[in-house]
Every structure is written in C-alpha cells, then in structure tokens.
C-alpha cells in the first residue's frame, strides 16, 4: 500500500517532561517521526511541553506547540489546526493516555480526527491489564494467575484465589509506579492501597508472582498488510522481579534455543494481532520458568517504548522512523533499509555482537532511600555498550555509566565490598541493586560456585559463567604482571573488556603507562559496524563500535571533520538538554560542510541515532575510549578538532586528557580558570565583579577559619561537579562539621553512599571544598551568552529565577524576559557577562549565574560551556544558541552567522516564557519535597503566553500541578518569610481564596490585617501534625505554601509537605513561588485560555534546511 493521500495534517503528541520511566527515548522516536512525516510531505503539528527536546525545535514541524499536555490544551490545538490524524504511539505513555482521554471525551470524533498507529480499542486492550489477560487467554497464551480489584476489600478477596507471593500493579501506569511484590498479608494490604491510589482509574491488578523466572522482551513491528517482524530479542540479566527499566539487559537473547525462541516469536505475533495494533512497533514481555521452560506473557506496550529505542540502537533498525511510515500507509517491504540501501525493511535484523544496557540510578540524591530494585522503575538513565562478546560489552557498559567504575570491579570501587562476608554478599546479590553485578563478580572471585550464586540470585548460570571468564582472566593478568604481557595476552584481556584503567589499578601503574605499553605491543581496538545483517550485505552507514579483532572497518573520510563528545547516560543534573546541544552542533557543522563524528553511549538519545551525524561511535566516554576514537579518526582523514563543551560535565572532564590543539572553542586553560576557585576569585577581583565572600578548605579547621571570616549561613560544596552534588547550606559549626565529614569521603570511589558522590568521577576528589557566604533572599539569575573570536558577545537571554538563590538553578522556575529585575540590574548583569566572556577569551557558549541581593549583583559561577538552559532560551527567543556556538568554535564570527541567516536577533517582545522543573518525588514518596542547592529535578517544561502569570500557570499545569481556581490556601512560613508571605496571602485572599495557617504564621497575617479562616496549632506539636495532615487528607486545602525554617534542620515541616504530596495537593516551598502562583491564578481567571505555536511566537530559529 502506498502513502495515504486522504490525510494532510497530522498531530504528533510528544511525551512531555523527562520523568523516571519516560526519558529522552521519546525525543528520539518523536524526532525520527517528525523528520519522516515531513519528508513524506504531510503538514505536521507537534504538541510537547518539554522545551529541552530536539523535536520541539521549530524546524521539525510546521506548527510546534510547547503547551501543557492535557485535554484542554490539546483540544485547543486541534480546534486551531484541524488535523486529520493523531499519531500517539511515539510519545510514550503520556501521549497514549492523552489520546485515550481525547477519544473517550469525544474530542477526536467531534473534529473528525483519526487515531493512526493504534486505535482506542487496541490501546485499551493492551493497557487495561485485565482485558489484556483475557485477550491473551483467548488466544491460548498463558498469563500469571490474577484478579482485578478496585477497592481494598476486592483486593483481599482476589488474593485468596491468587495466593502469595503476589505482585500488585496499577492500571494505566508506566514505569511500574506503585507496583510491588508482596510476600506477607500485611505487606499485601499496604501495597494494594498504594497501588489503588497510584492508578488514574484506581484499579489494580493482583497477580501471581513469578519472581526469579527469566525475563525477555521482543520488539515487534506490524504493517497494514499484516506483515510482522521481530526487530530484536532482549534477555534480562536480572530475573523477573526487577523492572526491565532497572535491569541489565542483553541483546540478542542468549540462553534460548531456537525451539523456545520461535515459540516466543509466534506468541508475540499472536499478541500484537489480537490486541489489534494495526501498524507500528510494540514490545511484548515474557517470563520463562528456567526449570520447565513454561512461558507466560507479562505485558505488551502497543507503542514505541524505551526498549524499542534500545532495540533500534542495538540493531540499526530505526523502529520509530519505520513505525511513522507504516502509520501513513506504507508496508514494510515498501521501505528500504537505510543501512544496506538495497534490502527492504521487511526482514529481521541479525547481529554479530552483544549489546548490554545498564541503568543508572540517583539514589544518592534521596538520602535514606534504600537502593533496592523492584517492580517499580527507579533509574534515571542508562548506558549501552556494544562488544563482540558479553563480557566485553558488560565491562564497557559499566565503565560507560560514569559512576567512577572502570569496569566489572578490578578498580578502586571494589574495595567497598572488601568488608562484606560471603553470606552478606550472597544476601545482597539476592535482591536487585545498583551494585548487583559487582557483587556477582566478587562472589565468583571468592570462589563461590556458579551453582550457589545462581541459587541465591536466580541469575542464569550462563551469565555467571561469562563473569567467571572475567574473574579468571583477572587472576591470570595479576600473575602475568605488566612486564609479562605479550600481544596475545593483551588481546585476550581486551577481548574480555578490561580497560587500561582496570589494568593500571591491578598492576599499580599509572593508566598512561599501561596505555603506552599496550600501544607498544601494537594492540589497538578495531572498529566494527552495526549493519542489521551480520555483514551479509554492505553497510552504507558508518555506525561503529570498538572491539579487539583482526579487521577494522573505519573508512577514510573526504571532508574535514569534527568530533563531538556527547553527555553519556542521563542523570539528574545532566540530561537531554546537553544532547540537544550536541545534536544541534552536529546539524550546524554538517550544514557548514564538515563531516560530523558523534561519540556517545546513551541509547535513549537523538545523538546516538545513526542519522544524526555522518559517523557514530557508540563508545564509553572515558579517556581510553575517546583517545582511541580520536586516533582512528585522525588516521582516516583531516580531523579539525573535538567539541567538549556541549555535552555537560562528562566531555568537559576529558578536555584535559585530549591533545590541547584538538580542543575546539574555549581553551582547557580558560575552562580551568573558571572552575578553579582560587584562579576564578582572582579573576572576579580583577574585573571587580562582586562574589559572595568565601574561601576554600580541605579540613574542618580550614573550614571553620573561612566561616569565621564570612559568617553563617554558609554554603559548602565540592568543585568540578554538576547539579550541586553534595552541596549544603550550614547554619552553625555542627552543620559545618557534618558537611565536611560527608565531603571527606568524597571521591572515595564506590565508598559509603554518602561518599557515593565519588561516582561522579575521581577528579573532584583532588579538588578542595568551596565555602561561600550563603546569600539569603537573593534573586538568582542565569545568563547564556556566546562570544566569538572577534570578541563580539551575544547575550542569548537573561533569565530571572522564581525561587530565590539557594534553590538549585536546575530546580527553580525561571522566566524570559526577567519579570521583576530593574533595567539597571539587567544592564549590570550583561556588563559583567561580557567582561567575564572577554577575560576567559570564550569561543562559544558561556553560562553565568548571578544572585541579586538588596540590589547588589553577585556572581555565583561561570561555566564556559553549554548550560541546561540553552534549549529553553532557543525556544523562548528563537536564537539557536547551540548551532551558533558550534559554528563559532570552528572559526565563524557572529557577524558571518548573522549574514548567513543562522543567527537572528532574540525575539522577546509580546510574550513571556517560563521554565519549570519537574521533580521525581512521586517516585520517592518518603523523600522531602523541599528544594535546596542540590538539584533533584529530572526534567523541565515550558509555559509560554502573553503575561508572566499566564505562562507560569501553564508551566504549572504542564508540570502536573494545576493551580487551583478557588478553595483554601494553607500557609506555614519560616519567620524570615513572613513579611513577604503577607503579600502573597493578601493576593490569594483578594482572589477569593480562604486562608488557613499555622499559629505563628496566622498571627503574623492577622496582625497585617489578612484574615485567616482556620488556625492550626503551632507546627511541631504532635496534635498539630494531625490537624494539618487531616485537613489535607480531607481535601480541604487547594494549595500549600510551606517554607522551611531558616535555621535548624531544614526538614522541619516535612510532614506537611509529604502529606501534601500523598494527597496530590500542589505544594510550594518558597514565598517567591507563592507570589508567582498568585499572579498566575489571577491572570488565569482574567484571560481566556489560548494556545499558540512557537512559529507564531518567535518564528523559526533557523532557515529551514
């Protein structure tokens, strides 16, 4: 069937903010879809609230709506754009659920919009766990015994039949939120309650647990002609019981015989046909009893998923791209395979290597949270590695994680396990945790048999035996010693994935020395190609991975080339924003005639799409792996240089390791000048730009001395880290001592979880602790600028934060243009920024953060690199900062780019854009939702409208907290906030809200003439807690404003915040946010709701390609 001509306009819904369980993989799939659908000549309308995405770049759609992903906004978009079709299967669970609401609400019918890809019926059949199970049984497939419950009583009945252990899972939930395995009756009741609350339709599935069985996934595609193919089979190293998203997964499946695999394939096809996904990709999950081979179906996702992104990167088969084509009528055999260019997409990829994905978690950001894995996904990112063998790819994947590990142990990190007894280790390895692979290796190294480890962990013996090979090789290497290594020995070690860093540790030599010895033995990696076909056909896309074989496949290049280092696995503090910058650099440099070479190891991203750059190296971002790529590229053509400043801290850390002449843009020395406290302070002094008074210390005494000089409160933190890791505000000597103690273990790799910071990379360890005077009640400001070689400085935007300084820039809302800053202050800030840019001789991007206290402008830090806000600035002003910076780094001047049309003047008139952070507290219910200098948000959304209030209100809806229109606002304020609190309270009262407050706050409000309808006893007293919480539980509060006490433990009042979270009542923890909210509520009531596309607000950022 050819392309459908009966549809013209297609609405594509993205997946919104990055949250745990739904990350940048949907930017990858959505971006692919955008490209394809426009190439097919359709008019494309895109809705996505996430400004950090590449798909929301105005170049990728005819109309780009950065609006909240809810029924109101999308209905308004449909009303304006009148699409013929809605494609929701590429925007994750968010898009799927939204499509269902639009369909059930009759919106789609009313406007005659057709759901393409999967229709409502199919979505419901797959997503409603009960319906799904019945459907599967209907076609003779087995599913775990189960029952549905909508109340606790029903749950109690169901468990009678199903029996324990049982798994509780809410309907219509992605990422396993609110799911868990209960082994005891009370445990069951608790989980059932949580699950019912978590499900939007308060319905849970109670299911017989098959924890310990082998877990598999098949990525399946189906076209309109009912042709089905399996793109990839994935086997989990962690058995059933650990969410796939939190499991180490391996492709292709390793321990299935053909008989079993074909049965699973047949089942997957039967499943997609029964569910009725007409076209596109789906993923079907299976569990297999290792003892009998009994196979049960766990679930199917009728859409492109995280696993499909992984499968695409693992095979070179672009699932989303093809799904988009299938959705508009093509059949698989009508689509050609990009890689071979002569064979059709109607085939099944075969791969001649092993792919391993390892998740990355952020438990260290949620102190007191056990780092245990279960059926609920908790990871925030992942790294993928390709090797010819499993041991090789596993070790590569582990060093790709950037948790300070050099591979599967054989590094300083393994010392953390030294103290554990065999039985303790066995016990720990028994439950999933981030450390499980390291525990497994340690156990086997201690001589514990594969059988016993298998007994304790249910990890398949094949995987364990493969780990044994690493163990045996290690002892062999230890015995051989650096001196005894011949070519054969080097090659064997490398083929099992050992990194130079591991060998350096094993032999007690510097890594550089090991590298030299290896190169002298003429042992260098060979680069193979990911080609979908095991080399049966010639590959035309240079998508490479390193391994240690005979033949290298890197082809000579014709054009001068630039290597771009990506940002590695997503983590809190470093996510999709940096991938956006790397991808834009690749596009811009490609357009300028360079051959672009991307190096990254994050399978979720657009940067690791083989379509994005001319060459892709799917490699860990470590010194060894990056230097090897540079050698290979230098050997195969004219290597102009390496971009290290767009991928966040990851490539920046490597800047010092790369030959300086290759580093493009700002010099490594200038980078160090900005990072090194001493040098930086000197610079600020010279430019006389005020800094918060402070100093550096490496001991408690030193710290006390500094504080003696600057006074409390003080801000304590390590240098050279991103996202405010381990940063804390201290109010007295005790607090300071505690903070210094925490930082003492800093860099002790893999050490105590307090010190697990070290996982961010050893570097920081050698850096002293920074101590600053903490500026209270200061307005924080972010500036993104670009400077070229001629010295011209372009101020991209000045962003005013909503929350005061002290709340990490990544966690606070911010607005363009600055809503309250005086013109004089903005001018000062711009002036300082230019001065700093010149002083650092910046070539490319510069991000400077300021704090404005009592009209005085202090500089907090300057980063001569891409910042988290670059994409937001681009969406809000139309200035393609990342593209411009990339061109500047290779010599273009801003003037050139202006005349070229790549750079246009910022468009800020007539609208306000607000960026709001999205925090993962729903995944960590017990964690305090209080914001602080340590960043904890996973993603962001943008609201854009005529006034600040409207834009802010939109940003809140997009972030999941619709501001109330009426009801009661509950105030409980710190003393220092009470003055400003009155203003906020008065505004809410004027808007017709009831006021509720704790005694102290109430007294203050009343005194200021603001009447409080309900007064609660003083916070802290036990009975008071009951009242406050009860009030929230009773749904009597529409909004909570609770600011932490300025002194003493900031956790004070935490119970109010957790109660608010539990009952889904929006909770603001700063008065600044409350004032913004009042303004939002006011404007919201005063204006009709309207949506508008970026093209209309700011035009397209760059001339269409």
């Amino acid at each position: 069937m050819p392309r459908r001509d009966d549809i013209e306009t297609i609405l594509l819904i993205g997946s919104g903010p990055i949250v745990i369980g739904q990350a940048s993989e949907f930017d990858y799939s959505g971006t692919q879809a955008c490209r394809v659908l426009r190439a097919e000549g359709y008019r494309l309308v895109l809705a996505n609230s996430n400004p950090a995405t590449i798909m929301t770049d105005p170049d990728f759609a005819d109309r780009t709506y950065v609006e909240p992903l809810d029924v109101d906004a999308v209905s308004a978009i449909i009303d304006r754009e009148r699409p013929d079709a809605l494609l929701a299967t590429l925007g994750g669970q968010t898009a799927l659920n939204l499509a269902m609401e639009l369909s059930e609400g009759g919106v789609l019918d009313r406007y005659g919009v057709e759901l393409i890809g999967a229709n409502a019926e199919a979505i419901a059949t797959a997503e409603d766990r009960d319906r799904f199970k019945q459907a599967m049984q209907g076609i003779g497939l087995t599913v775990p015994a189960s029952g549905i419950a909508r109340t606790l009583d029903e749950a109690r009945q169901v468990i009678e039949e199903v029996g324990l252990p049982a798994i509780v899972r809410p309907a219509y939930i992605m990422g396993g939120k609110g799911a868990g395995i209960a082994t005891t009756a009370p445990e069951f009741v608790r989980m059932a309650a949580v699950g019912l609350a978590a499900s939007p339709i308060s319905e849970i599935l109670i299911e017989k647990s098959v924890a310990g069985w082998k877990e598999y996934e098949l990525e399946v595609m189906r076209d309109g002609h009912d042709n089905c193919v399996v793109v990839c089979s994935i086997e989990n190293l962690d058995p059933m019981g650990v969410h796939t998203g939190d499991s180490i997964t391996v492709a292709p499946a390793q321990t299935l015989s053909d008989v079993e695999y074909q049965a699973m394939r047949d089942a997957a096809f039967a499943c997609i046909r029964r569910v009725g996904v007409e076209t596109g990709g789906s993923n079907v999950q299976f569990a297999l009893d290792p003892a009998t081979g009994e196979m049960v179906v766990i679930e199917m996702n009728p859409r492109v998923s995280r696993s499909s992104a992984l499968a695409s990167k693992a095979t070179g088969f672009p699932i989303a791209k093809i799904a988009a084509r299938l959705a508009v009528g093509y059949t698989l055999d009508e689509i050609t395979n990009d890689i071979t260019t002569k064979t059709p997409a109607s085939f099944e990829p075969t791969i001649d290597y092993v792919v391993t994905k390892v998740p990355r978690w952020a438990f260290e950001k949620f102190p007191g949270y056990p780092d245990l894995l279960g059926t609920q996904m908790q990871s925030v990112g992942e790294a993928m590695a390709i090797g010819r063998t499993f041991p090789e790819s596993l070790q590569k994947a582990l060093r790709s994680l950037e948790h300070g590990r050099h591979g599967l142990n054989c590094d300083p990190g393994e010392e953390a396990m030294a103290g554990l007894s065999d039985s303790e280790l066995l016990a720990r390895a028994g439950t999933g945790s981030p450390d499980r692979p390291f525990h497994l290796e340690a156990l086997l190294r201690r001589g514990i048999s594969v059988e016993r480890v298998h007994q304790a962990t249910a990890v398949d013996p094949w995987f364990l035996d493969q780990i044994c090979r690493i163990v045996e090789e290690r002892s062999h290497l230890a015995a051989t010693g650096a001196a005894g290594m011949d070519r054969w020995a080097w090659r064997r070690a490398k083929r099992l994935g050992f990194s130079d860093a591991q060998l350096a540790w094993l032999w007690g030599r510097p890594e550089a020395e090991v590298r030299t010895a290896r190169l002298e033995a003429e042992v260098t990696p060979t680069y193979k190609t990911v080609d979908t076909c095991g080399a049966e056909f010639e590959a035309h896309t240079p998508y490479h991975y390193s391994t240690w074989e005979d033949e290298d496949e890197v082809a000579p290049s014709r054009r001068p080339k630039v290597v771009i280092l990506g940002s590695g696995p997503n983590r809190i503090g470093q996510g999709i924003e940096f991938d956006y910058c790397c991808v834009h650099a690749s596009f811009a440099l490609g357009d300028a005639g360079f051959e672009t070479v991307m190096v990254n190891c994050n399978p979720e991203t657009v940067s690791t799409d083989y379509d994005t750059s001319d060459r892709l190296y799917f490699e860990p971002l470590t010194t060894e792996d990056v230097l090897s790529v540079l050698d290979a590229e230098a050997a195969s053509g004219d290597l102009v240089g390496v971009v290290v400043s767009l991928g966040g801290q990851t490539p920046l850390k490597l800047a010092g390791e790369i030959p300086p002449e290759l580093v493009l843009g700002t010099s490594p020395d200038a980078i160090d000048l900005a990072e090194d406290r001493e040098r930086w302070s000197g610079l600020c002094a010279r430019l006389d730009i005020p800094q918060p008074p402070g100093g550096v210390a490496s001991s408690l005494d030193g710290a006390l001395a500094v504080v003696g000089r600057i006074g409390y409160p003080a801000l304590v933190r390590p240098s050279y880290v991103l996202g405010g890791r381990a940063m804390s505000i201290v109010y007295d000597d005790d607090g300071l001592a505690a903070a210094m103690a925490e930082l003492a273990t800093f860099g002790a790799p893999g050490g105590a979880r307090a010190g697990s910071l070290g996982r961010e990379g050893g570097l920081s360890a050698e850096r002293p602790v920074l101590i600053d005077r903490f500026l209270e009640d200061a307005v924080e400001v972010d500036v993104d600028a670009v400077r070229d070689a001629t010295g011209e400085v372009l101020i991209g935007a000045v962003m005013e934060h909503v929350e005061e300084a002290g709340v990490h820039s990544g966690d606070s809302a911010c607005a363009i243009p600055p809503p309250t800053l005086a013109a004089r202050v903005v001018a000062t800030i711009e002036g300082h920024t230019r001065a700093i840019a010149d002083a650092l001789d910046v070539r490319g991007l510069l991000n400077v953060q300021y704090a404005v206290a009592q009209g005085e402008v202090y500089v907090i830090e300057a980063n001569p690199r891409a910042s988290r806000t670059v994409p937001f600035v681009a969406k809000a002003t139309g200035v393609a900062l990342a593209k411009v910076a990339a061109r500047v780094m290779v010599g273009a001047s801003l003037a050139d780019l202006r005349s070229e049309g790549l750079l246009m003047a910022p468009r800020t008139a007539g609208h306000v854009a607000v960026k709001e952070a999205v925090l993962p507290f729903n995944r960590f219910p017990e964690a305090d939702s209080l914001l602080g200098p340590e960043m904890r948000s996973t993603g962001e959304v943008m609201g854009i409208d005529r006034t600040f209030g409207l834009a802010f209100a939109k940003s809140q809806i997009a972030a999941g907290d619709r501001l109330p229109e009426r009801g009661a606002v509950f105030f409980s304020l710190a003393d220092r906030d009470k003055a400003n609190g009155v203003i906020a309270a008065r505004r809410f009262a004027a808007l017709g809200f009831d006021l509720v407050a704790t005694a102290g706050t109430a007294a203050h409000l009343e005194a200021a003439g603001v009447s409080v309808s309900t007064v609660l006893d003083k916070v802290g007293e036990h009975d008071a807690e009951v009242t406050a919480v009860e009030l929230l539980a009773a749904g009597k509060v529409a909004l909570v404003v609770n600011t932490p006490r300025g002194h003493g433990p900031r956790a004070d009042g935490a119970y109010i915040r957790s109660a608010a979270a539990a009952h889904r009542v929006p909770c603001l923890t700063t008065v600044a946010a409350a004032l913004a909210a009042a303004e939002g509520v006011g404007d919201w009531a005063a204006h009709p709701f309207a949506v508008r596309s970026l093209q209309e607000w700011v035009g397209t950022a760059t001339p269409p390609p």
């Binding site: 002609h225 009912d226 042709n227 193919v229 089979s233 292709p252 499946a253 390793q254 321990t255 299935l256 015989s257 053909d258 008989v259 079993e260 695999y261 074909q262 394939r265 047949d266 290792p290 003892a291 009998t292 081979g293 059949t331 698989l332 055999d333 002569k342 064979t343 059709p344 109607s346 085939f347 099944e348 990829p349 075969t350 791969i351 001649d352 290597y353 092993v354 010819r388 063998t389 499993f390 594969v450 398949d460 013996p461 094949w462 035996d465 090979r469 045996e472 090789e473 002892s475 062999h476 193979k528 076909c533 095991g534 080399a535 049966e536 056909f537 010639e538 074989e549 005979d550 033949e551």
Partner: protein, 357 residues
C-alpha cells in the same frame, strides 16, 4: 589457566583466521559458508544439506543452550567443520543434554573458536564461497588441505547423505513417498502429521515409487550442486502428472531441472533465518529460513509460475506447475531452525494430495 589448543581456519586464497581449536582433534576441509541465524546452531550443524561444507556462524556466542537429541536434524553433525567467534564453556538451558564441544568431538568434527568471524563473513561476501581447511594444525598444512579441496560444482554430495534403504515414519492418514536427498528430521515430522511417510534413497526409480501408490511424492532438501544429482532429473520428470509433488530446497531445484529449468551458483548463497520472501499471490511477506548455494535461473523454467521471490536479491523462491500438480519452494517452510511463517505450505501439499493427480 591452561592456554587452549591453538587452531585456525585457512582459505584456499591464503587468508588465515587465527583462533582456538575445539571439537575433534583433527583437521577438515570443505567449502566455507557463513550462516546468520541467532539461534539454532545445532539444527544447522546436523542438517545434511551442509555436507561438504565448513559452517561459520556470524552470531558471537555459540553453544549457550547446549545440545539435545530433540533438536538434531539428523543423527549426527553433517558439516565438515564449525567456525565461531566464541564457544560457550557452560551451556545453560533446561532442555540441554550435553554441550556442542562434545557433540562435535564424538562426531569427529573439528571446530575453531575465537575467530574474527565478521572479517571472514566480509571476505566471503566479497570473494564468494571458497574452499578452506580448519583445525589444530599449522598454516601450511591447512593451506594445502584447502587448496586440495575440490569445488562443489559437479560433485554429487547427495550420494553420501541419502539413506541406504527405505524406511517408514509418520502416522498421518495419507501415504507420502519422500525422496531422501539428505532430508531434515523436521521435514519428516511435518510430513508425518499428514501421512505415513516412506523415505526412499535418492536413486529409487520412479516406477518403484509409483508402485507404492503414494498420495503424494516429496522431494527433500540436500547438499551441493543439483545438476550433479545423478538420475534425479529424469526420475522426477516421469513422476510429474502422475502424482502430486512437493519439493523443498534441493527438491525445488531438482523439480525445476525436471521441468527443463537450469540452476546456477550464488556468490555466497543464502544461509540464515531472516530472509524476506514475497508470496506473489497475496503480496504477503514471509520471513524464511534458508540454506542454499544454488538457485533456479530466472525464466529457465517452462510450464511453471514463480510463486515466491526473495526480496533481498530477487532469487526465485517458489514454483508452481501450471498443468501438473506440483510445487516447490527454495526456502525451508519446516524451519528447524527459523521462523514458522511458511508452515502453511504443508497444508497446501495436503490440499494438492486431496485433489489428486
């Protein structure tokens, strides 16, 4: 850690692939082909169609789930040698009865592991199938063996794998006589559901077959050059029109030959489980299991329609006679190993027998 026996694969053109020896402690020569299946190494190794060949697997880890009598396509390994990137030391699967190393050793088949099989595959792709020798021996010895190995053209490899005497298998209602050119167990299992299958040696004359009054005659898969299978062409020609005929793989090529068609050798053949085939009648795509080095020449066959085409390279994958009840496919609908997409063809054979000659 004991350093394993060094072993290597040497091609007739002098290319050398270093590795470690496993399986039997001997060397073997044959035509080197690569197979791209991800699962099913045991089925491949025990498939008589690989007689005379050295099989290299493109998938890295081979032997992971062990071996079991249930998965053998014949009683023993049939290829001359096996080349892999990585041999599993410890199989893990509830069905496993033993491991690949032992299976090969017992059958006297040598193997080489640790080989850059991707380099080998790329070489074969460019250079075409070529003779080689593998095992625990020095380069020179293996090179001589490789050079001494005759090309498969014109050699009747079927004689070496066909059964010595007729035997019967299957419990189905009908009667089928199956020519054993090196028949796979899975094929007989499928036929056995339709019929009582009388398996006869490749050289069995048509008269003898017809004397058994079959409802249908089946032409099996088999190794090597169809043109070299003595007598098959005429035998099949004299069966056509008198009894429904179904051919698979070599059987398909022989049917084509009987219809006056000619066959030719592909550069490196089709050996894998992921080949897309279009069913001309419906435009439906089947993912198929394939294993052949020869193919039927386009337009050389009179009186038959092309029913299936390979979407990768247009090779004829299926034929159906216009005036006599006979059809055939080049690929393997029985799978073993591979996808089950084309199993309907056995039902079609049943339907054909239903209608009779």
């Amino acid at each position: 850690m004991t350093r394993p026996r060094p072993g290597r694969l040497v091609l007739a053109d002098g290319e050398v692939f270093e590795g470690e020896a496993f399986g039997a402690d001997t060397i073997a020569s044959g035509e080197v082909v690569f197979n791209t299946v991800l699962t099913g190494y045991q089925e491949v190794i025990t498939d008589p169609s690989y007689a005379g060949q050295i099989v290299a697997f493109t998938a890295t880890h081979i032997g992971n789930y062990g071996v079991t009598a249930l998965d053998g396509e014949s009683a023993r390994p049939q290829c001359r040698a096996v080349v892999v990137r990585d041999l599993a030391r410890r199989p893990s699967n509830w069905r496993a009865e033993g491991d690949l190393d032992d299976l090969l050793r017992a059958a006297g088949v040598p193997g080489v592991s640790g080989v850059d099989t991707r380099r080998l595959t790329r070489h074969l792709r460019r250079r075409g199938a070529i003779a080689g020798a593998a095992g625990p021996a020095d380069e020179a010895t293996l090179l001589d063996a490789a050079r001494a190995e005759p090309a498969t053209e014109g050699i009747d490899l079927v004689a070496g794998v066909t059964c010595a005497a007729p035997y019967t298998t299957g419990t189905g209602p009908r009667r089928v006589v199956a020519y054993d050119y090196g028949v796979k167990a899975t094929m007989l299992r499928h036929l056995g559901r339709l019929a009582t299958v009388e398996v006869v040696p490749a050289s069995t004359p048509a008269g003898e077959v017809l004397a058994r009054r079959p409802d249908g005659v089946f032409l099996s898969n088999g190794p090597g050059d169809p043109a070299a299978v003595t007598g098959a062409r005429d035998t099949i020609a004299s069966l056509l029109g008198r009894v429904p005929v179904f051919g698979i793989c070599l059987g398909h090529q022989l049917l084509a030959a009987a219809l006056g068609g000619t066959t030719y050798k592909l550069d490196f053949g089709h050996h894998g489980g992921n080949h897309p085939v279009k069913r001309v009648a419906t435009d439906a795509v089947e993912i198929t299991s394939q294993n052949h080095s020869y193919a039927v020449a386009e337009g050389s066959v009179e009186g038959a329609d092309v029913t299936h085409v390979n979407l990768n390279d247009g090779v004829i994958e299926g034929l159906s006679c216009r005036d006599v009840p006979a059809f055939s496919v080049q690929y393997h609908p029985e799978a073993g190993p591979g996808p089950h997409d084309a199993r309907y063809l056995f039902a079609e054979f049943e339907a054909l027998m239903e209608r009779g000659a």
